[in-house]
Structures are given as C-alpha cells and as structure tokens.
Amino acid sequence: MADNMSAWVAGSDRPEKQVVRIGFLPLSDCGSLIMASLLGFDEKFGIKIALSKEASWASVRDKLGNGELDAAHVLYGLMYGVQMGIGSQARDMAVLMNLNHNGQAVTLSSSLAQQGAVDGASLAGVIRKAPRPYTFAHTFPTGTHAMYLHYWLAAHGIDPLREVRMVTVPPPQMVDNLRAGRMDGYCVGEPWGMKAVHDAIGVTAATTQEIWPDHPGKVLGTTADFVAHYPNTCRALIAAVLEAGRWLDASMENKQKMLETISQPHYVKTRQVWEEQHGLQFYNSGAVNFPYLSDGMWFMTQHRRWGLLKDDPDYLAVASKVNRIKLYRQAAEMTATPLPPGVLRSSTLIDGVVWDGSAPERYAASFAIRK
C-alpha cells in the first residue's frame, strides 16, 4: 500500500503544486477537509493543505477567481451560479467532489411554533390564517440552502417568491436574528440550526434530508483554470479528502474527535455533538463524494425554476464540463473508494417527484410554483 502511494507521488503524477490554499466557512460540513489537513492525509499524497477561514461565500468566489485560494469548501449551487454568470461575471468552474450529504435544517421561530407551525404543512396553515410578510433566511442567493428552502416551502404550497420575504444572512448571525424576532425561520448548515433549539428560540421544522434524502451539500470547488494547470494536485486533494472521510466513518470516536477539533475558535467555534448533525455524512464508502452529473444539473434546474437563469442551459453539457468525474475516478482508485456504475443517480424529493437527471428542461418547467 505504502509503495503504491509513493509511486503516485514520485512519478509523472507528482502534484504540480504542493502547497494548496483552501478556503472554508465555519460549518460542521467542512469536517473532512479540516481532518485531511490536520491528520496528514494530504502529505500522504504529496501535498500540504493550507486552510484559510473565510467570512463570506462572495469572498470565497472572488478569491477562487483571483487565485488567492486554490480550492474551497463551497456551496454546490454557488459553483453553478458562477459558471452561468448569475450575479457575477461567468467563469468556468470545476467541482472536484461532493463533500457531504445532509447535515442542514430548516428552523422556525418558537413564536411560530406556539401558533402551531412546527412543520411545512402547519406553517402553510399559519401563513394562510394570519397573512403578513413572513421572513425566511438562507445563506446565498444561488446556494444550496436557498434552493432547499425554496423547494421545501413550495412543496407545502407556499410560494417563496410571492408569499414570503426571502433574505440572505451569514450563518453565524442566523440565531441572533431569530432571537430578535427579525425573521421567522431559516435554512442553514449545522451547528446553526441546533443552536436555536438549544437556546429555546426555535424548532427544527425539517431536516434537509427530509427534503432530499442524501442530498448533495458543499463541494470541493475550484476553477477550470486551476484544474488545467494542476491536475495532479487536484487528484491528490480529492484522494486526501476521501481518506479523511473514510477515517471519519470508521468510528464514533473519530467523529467526536473531529467535532471537538472544529469546535475550536479558529474553526467553527461552537461545541457540538454528533447526534445533532442531522444525518451528516462525509464518505459512506464514497457514495457521498461522487460528483454526479444529476446533482450538478439539479441546481441549474432550480436556478431556472426561480428565474435566476433566464433561459434553459444545456444542462447535461454544462454539468459534464463542471463536474470532474475523470479526476474523481482516478482519486477513488488511488484510495480504493468504491465507484457507482453511472454518472446519474435517482432521488425522490419531499414532494414525491423523482429526479434522475433525465429531461432537465421538462423537470425545471414542471413545478406548479415557480417564477
């Protein structure tokens, strides 16, 4: 095994760039990335991950663009937003791997819960009975939480564009805003959902895996340019994170150790326990990490649904360009990570609608509630 590894590292596959600067936002789902760096999985593949804590997704996007960051823990939807030029100049991006499944939630305020709104259906009832501009927050307009929150509201007959007011709030400010009564609910990654529950100011109305079981989350993202210049570095990076994910899956002790580590001030800065991570997964024998084209396409179908994309793109062509399946497969082989048979997967979302990557234009146009 060790010999195999050094062969990878020493041969023509030697990483072109050894020190890789990677941005992350303080959220539980950056766990495998941080452990890949701290436990030395990176060095095993001939690279050194230099972690950089970032304050905003907009800044992650800009720094990927200007090369201040080589890669980042980033929202899946944001990568496709930049690829399609939503809100910024279009730039060719690359998704190297998916980093996590699940681990996010929709939280409603305790005062809404007292009026009976504790899940999607009862929320719809309360909104109908007492109409006012209900305010809900997500983390970035094209991002994962925005798309899951929109989907969840619409699945319960609530029109997210017309019936509620939607705002963007940085994750660490969610709880304070809910406490101050400035908003009625939000969708965000842990620990910011459970924090509201612990502080007794909110209830969990839905976990994101109720919206889409084993949904994609953050990705390891970079630019197409970086992949073109440093393919071996990218492959090594994927391999290191896969191994870290496998280490996390190996035992509860490892998961707790990761949570303790990322609870430190220079990472996420909040104490957490594994039982409250809402089905967060980092590896699951590689099932988490494969950059399925259907996952990438889904975000574009939702961008189209909500009018962020004004026309239908060539969904499959764009996803095939952005998601780096070839590099991922090579890294999976290096780490003996099982590979799925195809590049699409079939999922049934909360409204019972199946998404399997086929007929994306029709899927995007099929929803009753849309822009």
Partner: protein
C-alpha cells in the same frame, strides 16, 4: 511635511452608502471584526475629508435590501472581508436589471485580487490607509467604469430586443401569408397598414396577431 494639495470638488455629488460590519453588543469581537470596524471608520473619515456625501452608514442586517432600495445610492461601499458580502450579493442578484456600482475596501493591496473582484462586478477597490485625496480619483474611475459597462449592457440588450422583435414580425407575417394566401410582400404591407391604423409599432401589432392565434388555438 509637504503641504497637502487642495482637494478639487468631486465632479458629481455622489450619494454614497457605506455598509458597516455588525458588532453586536455583548459579543466579544474577534480580531478580524475589530480590524474591519477600524478600517470602516478610517474610510468614512477619508470620504468625508474628500468632500463625499455619505447619505447613510448602514448596518449589514436583514433590512439592508429595503434601505438600499429606499435610498437609491449612486454607490455602495463595503469591506471586502465582511461577512455581509453575502447580504449584498442578495441585493446584486435581486436588482441585477438595475445595478449600481459597488466598491470594496480592503487592506490587501494585491492587484490581482482587485482585478478579479472587478471582473466579478465590483467597480473599484479602495485599499485601507489610502490618503483622502486618493479616494476621489478611485471613485471617479469606478463610476466611469460602471457607466461604461452599463452602456455596453444596454446596447447588448437593445440588440437582443430588436432581434426578438424581428422574429415576432416574421412569425406574424407567416400567419398572414398562410391564412390569407398572401405573398410575403403583401403580408408585410398588411401588417404595416394595421400598425399605422392602430398607431402601434410593427412588433406590437405582430405580437397581437400571435396572441389572437394562441387564444383561438388554430
């Protein structure tokens, strides 16, 4: 110490909104928040010294989009390292058909990051510690650049619009030709006289013909 060059008046009285980092009471501020707050204060002083009109200094809270919509500033300035960047992103996307220039300020003088941010839609970068008299040319360049970009975008959408109009006219002509057994030239003349009679643009009358066709479902 050399005497300071007299500040020329800003060519245009810009209405500027500065977005501030939230420093919630009762929370210990970490070093980066503290640095942001200091940069913000220095920038506001610099702008005022340079004769700019800061119409508001807003906290980056959930009311920011409404406040910006009310104030309609000529320019928004925000710290590049602020977590409120994502709140502003919301505004950028929600108002992408009526964009306004956004200027960042930062401590990072690396030109590469300025180029990338400007490519991403930021109009200019102000580096922290910049002298008051240097702010003015930076903002003037930012505004000029933004206006130029908007002009190009407007021209592009105008061209697209004209192209779309031509398509509508072609389809309406096709319908007239089929229904009334007209030649292309006759169909065009029919359209033109209908447009003149109704005092509508050619594309408008063409669209009505298509709408009626849709309604009757032929």
């Amino acid at each position: 110490m050399p005497s300071r060059a007299p500040l020329s008046k800003p060519v245009h009285k810009l209405r500027i909104v500065v977005v501030n980092t939230i420093t919630a009471a009762g929370h210990e501020m970490d070093a980066s928040l503290q640095a942001q707050a200091q940069r913000g204060a220095a920038l506001r002083i610099g702008l005022l010294e340079a004769g700019y009109d800061i119409i508001a200094s807003l906290p980056a809270d959930i009311y920011l989009p409404e406040r910006i919509a009310q104030l309609q500033p000529d320019m928004i300035i925000i710290d590049a390292e602020s977590d409120a960047r994502d709140v502003l992103e919301h505004i950028v996307i929600a108002t992408r058909d009526e964009r306004r220039p956004i200027v960042m300020f930062t401590e990072d003088a690396a030109t590469s990051s300025m180029d990338a941010a400007m490519a991403a839609g930021v109009s200019a970068y102000i580096v922290a510690g910049l002298q008051a008299e240097r702010i003015q040319p930076v903002l003037n360049v930012a505004l000029a650049r933004f206006k130029q970009e908007q002009k190009l975008l407007a021209e592009l959408s105008d061209t697209k619009h004209k192209l779309a109009e031509r398509k509508v006219i072609e389809r309406a002509k096709g319908l007239l030709m089929a229904h009334h057994h007209l030649s292309e030239e006759q169909a065009y003349q029919r359209l033109r006289s209908m447009a003149m009679n109704k005092k509508l643009k050619l594309a408008e009358i063409a669209q009505r013909i298509l709408d009626v066709e849709d309604l009757l479902g032929n």
